[in-house]
Point group: C2
Chain length 323, copies 2
């Protein structure tokens, strides 16, 4: 019987969540795929860290080539994060004939055409459902079930850290600095929160959404982006007095002349809009299509297991074509 063999790049938080998802639901995953599914090699320097999982030491390799040059490996999962060396490794894997699954929005957004081209030329799949909205199945829905639509608009709450901060400021009347400190203590914000609070992470995700929804790729650096660092308690109170909430929104719209308007910035949302009910670190993507009308996808936009869910979903879709 064919065994699906996977090489994993990176065993950090998300890599560990993906490994756990496979271990936790192995029976169901293998039953559905119709074959054994195993992560057989892992590129990771930190072998000894306690991750709460048992990983046989012989799975660890020191060089990506040990994975790319192994003819038995069908699928590479890239979970290193960051643009480089991740993008170059994804491209190498694709050009080695490996299908690639990644959660890496920064690498995909900054190298969209280059990576798609490498997949096409390698005759393999590149899947990145987990890169936008974490566990929320939004990208595959937009390109699958909803593919008969012409999309006109997307409004996304696609960064959990900033939504957590704005939501806490709103519900508890606290200042940005107070909430940021609390969020860092609770693990909802990183020690260096720049990529989140300045809107860079949201711009990466908007770049990917626009490429898929409008077939219009814009490098994230070219997306006008304003974060939440200047949002004050007074702004939030003023919005509330008008029945509005302030949310960091990744926005893009196809205008009547066919051009695409896009930006990331704090926006006021009326409190009856479905996006206004997105609290704490949750994410949601609101889209408009010319046949379907208004839709919203809501769920956990980050975290090891939710991201692992999306990564393994992509892996299973590929695996089913290999059995």
């Amino acid at each position: 019987m064919k065994e699906i063999k996977i090489g994993l790049l990176g065993l950090g938080n998300i890599g560990t969540g993906t490994y756990k998802t496979l271990e936790m639901n192995r029976d169901q995953i293998e039953g559905s795929v119709g074959a054994p599914v195993n992560i057989v090699r892992i590129l990771e320097k930190d072998i000894d860290r306690d991750r709460g999982i048992e990983v046989p030491r012989e799975k660890f390799v020191a060089k990506a080539e040990d994975i790319f040059e192994d003819p038995e490996i069908d699928i590479v999962i890239e979970l290193l994060g960051g643009v480089e060396p991740a993008a170059t490794l994804i491209e190498s894997a694709l050009r080695s004939g490996k299908h690639v699954v990644t959660a890496n929005k920064a690498a995909v957004a900054a190298n969209y055409h280059r990576l798609r081209k490498a997949a096409e030329e390698g005759g393999v799949q590149l899947r990145f459902e987990a890169s936008v909205g974490g566990g929320i199945p939004v990208l595959t829905a937009l390109t699958g079930c909803l593919q008969a639509n012409r999309f006109s608009r997307v409004l996304g709450i696609v960064n959990g850290t900033t939504n957590y901060i704005l939501d806490k400021m709103t519900t508890e009347g606290l200042s940005y600095d107070e909430v940021l400190k609390d969020a860092q203590a609770k693990g909802f914000a990183e020690a260096d929160p720049t990529a989140d609070v300045e809107g860079i992470d949201a711009a990466n995700k908007l770049s990917i959404l626009m490429a898929l929804m409008f077939d219009h790729y814009v490098h994230p650096k070219d997306i006008p982006t304003k974060g939440i660092t200047e949002v004050t308690a007074a702004d939030i109170e003023d919005a509330r007095s008008k029945n509005q909430l302030i949310k960091l929104i990744a926005y893009a719209e196809r205008m009547e002349d066919g051009s695409i308007k896009y930006e990331v910035r704090p926006m006021r949302i009326i409190d009856t809009h479905p996006l206004s009910g997105v609290h704490r670190e949750y994410n949601a993507v609101f889209v408009e299509g010319n046949a379907v009308g208004n839709l919203m996808f809501y769920g956990p936009g980050a975290g090891p297991l939710p991201t692992g869910s999306a990564v393994m979903g992509d892996v299973m879709e590929i695996a089913k074509t290999l059995v």
Copy 2:
């Protein structure tokens, strides 16, 4: 070049919406599929009705066999509604080697194993994304992106008529009878609203959700079902005083002993729950998976174009395997 030829059973509201979706977005649909896509034959008695679309008269046929026995037709779309003769026609199409796409929850829920078996034996696909949640891409997400999860729970607002009535009763303090009359006048409730207000439609959808999420099929007649006809303005006011809303919920849960608990009935939802923000005729499906956590899919659960969007999405997925 291969042309994808479709036979359509039924040109009522949903059939017309599907036809319109294809006409409206033909360039994009054919570009994505990589082949011309055409509805070439339509089983429909009412040829002369004004549907706001141009349908060449030669497409109309009087017998389903004219479609099933046409070797050029690849895909049959069934949009007749109701259990019979729809289920028998779906089965005949599958056994004639046609892929089938349907929006028909009643026929699928009442004949789940029979139709899946016919598809398997015919070596063809049976897709029914539009049968639950209308335009909301929920079924394909549950069986695709989310397939690495073990699901523990589903709470669905899966009937637009009853959500419209309960929402109006809540926001305007009106009685059930007053709102039902208004809903009928506005087209949100049928002249005979029994299937909706008694929860039968929701039970059909819950049957399909349970089969896909828990691999546990229950005939809709065996699902304990209570509709909304006995919900009073006083019930709604009492709920509101406790920060709750009353919603008709299709509920199923996998208990710790592995058994599945299920029912359709009006339930009280706390006003901070994501389902509490589902107003008017909108639908939403809230699910819990052991890796992903809590997710919600929100959107139009009915209507010609939203349903047409889901039907054409299924058609395109099949068409891509044929080109």
